[in-house]
Symmetry: C2
Subunit: 415 residues, 2 copies
Amino acid sequence: MMTAIETKARAARAAANRLASVDTATKNQVLRDLAAALATRRDEVFAANRADMDAARAAGLPGPKLRRLEITPQGLDQMIAGLRQVADLPDPVGAVVKEYTTPSGLAVRKVRVPLGVIAMIYEARPNVTIDAFALCFKAGNACFLKGGREAAHSNALLADAARAVLHDHHLPEAAVEVITSSDRDEMRHLLTLSEYIDLVIPRGGTELIRFVHEHARMPMVQHFHGVCHVYVDEFADRDKALAICVTGKTSAPATCNATECVLVHQACAADLIPELVQRYTTAGVEVRGDDAVRKLAPEAHAAADDDWGHEFLDMIVALKVVPDADAAIAHIQRYGSNHTDAIISENPDRQARFIAGVGSSCVLTNASTRFNDGFQLGLGAEIGISTSKIHAYGPMGLEELTTQRYVVTGSGQTR
Amino acid sequence: MMTAIETKARAARAAANRLASVDTATKNQVLRDLAAALATRRDEVFAANRADMDAARAAGLPGPKLRRLEITPQGLDQMIAGLRQVADLPDPVGAVVKEYTTPSGLAVRKVRVPLGVIAMIYEARPNVTIDAFALCFKAGNACFLKGGREAAHSNALLADAARAVLHDHHLPEAAVEVITSSDRDEMRHLLTLSEYIDLVIPRGGTELIRFVHEHARMPMVQHFHGVCHVYVDEFADRDKALAICVTGKTSAPATCNATECVLVHQACAADLIPELVQRYTTAGVEVRGDDAVRKLAPEAHAAADDDWGHEFLDMIVALKVVPDADAAIAHIQRYGSNHTDAIISENPDRQARFIAGVGSSCVLTNASTRFNDGFQLGLGAEIGISTSKIHAYGPMGLEELTTQRYVVTGSGQTR
């Protein structure tokens, strides 16, 4: 007998076969209709979210998690705007990536096609539910969304809204399935269904990634943590360095592209660090520094060993003095997470050395780590930032939710 | 304590870090020097291969497997030519895939970088050892090659030749590691080393793929079997159909892109099938047909249930009459392997319907399934044909052995 989740996965596979050939105009209308439905059903959305928030508060969920769980009026406006933005993006399905004729006279096209069924496992952030559905659907994929049990009411309501719109368009409701249970056995079972699910995207912390890594029998593209570094070189522009280091933490401390650790070349440490620490402190950021930092700025806290390579996701930053660029690169190779790293330097050789030495999905010179983001890098939207090297590395937008195959037109060629 | 294989994997990781920045000219020279070395060491290669062949014959290895294991003089010439061809191909590393400036003034480049360490697990085909090393190395990757215990002497000699050339160029010999043991425990252990190995490519039959699928803890791109179909539509050109169906099997029956099953529209069955079966029989191909086929061509054998979806890799073909194009598509969806499928038809609507209905990595109209091949499709060379949708789908050449990351140049941008 098929389990309930297997039945759902099978329905998702059938839905994916149907979605692969839905025309762009219909897909865009579904996204716009869902935007309109959410605008109409605002009170329902807030009521469902309130039920989640009340339960989370009662369970003593910490502040940053509560803030991610909450759907504010502005947050709902952003979800609605996001749906319309994805509707406005070009459809990746059917796009011809390459086109050429071989010496044998074959007309070859390399064409984007949907992946099929995508399972996404993430935290209690209801906005991700709508973003992920919008991107998966526009790229012709069905999706299984498993988004943190604390968000169960919110996610169920949002998925219900999406399924109602699909139904109105005579499209299979199984195109989106929200799983609200957090039963580990059920998750393990889901992760074995490689016959129906083409890709799993875990997006979250160490424990979640490890669990999926351990149990998934289908390909995985992980969105792991961002331990993002800024290296301030001896040839840095002081003002740029200060602005980039401070705002890289303060503008959105709980995001994966926030700056978690700043490495300062010893040649500019004395000039830079006292002011940097002061600015951080004024902005409410706790600085955890090594001995060299604390000599220059005694108000900094002492960094513990596990502050290096730590994703704080909070108003905390680690700060260290390094003897040279190579030491900065070595530190990042050891403690970084292949997410995002930046160098502040006006010296092209140093920039090149840093770029060559640091293998992250996004390496920046003289810009904030916060720019490793699908919107900021021009992808239009993103489902998250991949720290896997296979299939997609960095922000995953619509194109990264497709694959490419060969469509070949001959005139009787044999070999 | 580190196991021997872990030590090797760690060395491969270090070698990969070094290979990532080796310039194109040096890489090409290594490949040309290896070609020259193999030309000089012909007798050694044949002697090593003879040791494998003798043992394989004594062990009773079947004919097709013996033919794959043997290094003939022509086979060695092809390996040598292959090395020179890969040297002549453009270097994918550092290629800029996209380049643009964002509204925020960031100069964004999406750049190809090596994957790192690639493990490849394949059958006793020594030519694959050289091809795989050439492609992995040119794309800046270190490789772990595990190629069928029957080929142990041949592979050890070939790897030794490669390592000697690497040594001469002051490059790490750990850039290529050949594993000759077929110990399952050792394989299982290798497949857990996700810290050192970025990608595993299993290329082979059901049992091998299942084993790797079960045990691999790193990403996998599988090169699974090719159950390639040709559908002869009612609007087919008769001569094209006959030529494509017959040569698609006879030109290289043991390859993954050989035609294994022909589906014929009932409207042209009476006209086509008697001659098709006669041509197959004349060429030495055993035809296994359904009842409708055997009514038209009594010399055909009766197909058993498991002949549908079977990869014969031999001079055998399955043949079936279908009521219409949809039935052909449904047959392929059920029995195909997402490898290669072709339609023979002069009718554009039928072609489009077939292309939309069949999801394989390569879909052809009016051309042989044998064209799904890196050389034939213009990739220059291939490490195999992926039947995974993630990362690469279809022939994998140099580009598919890299990933892409973002290199961003700012002028002090914050957000």
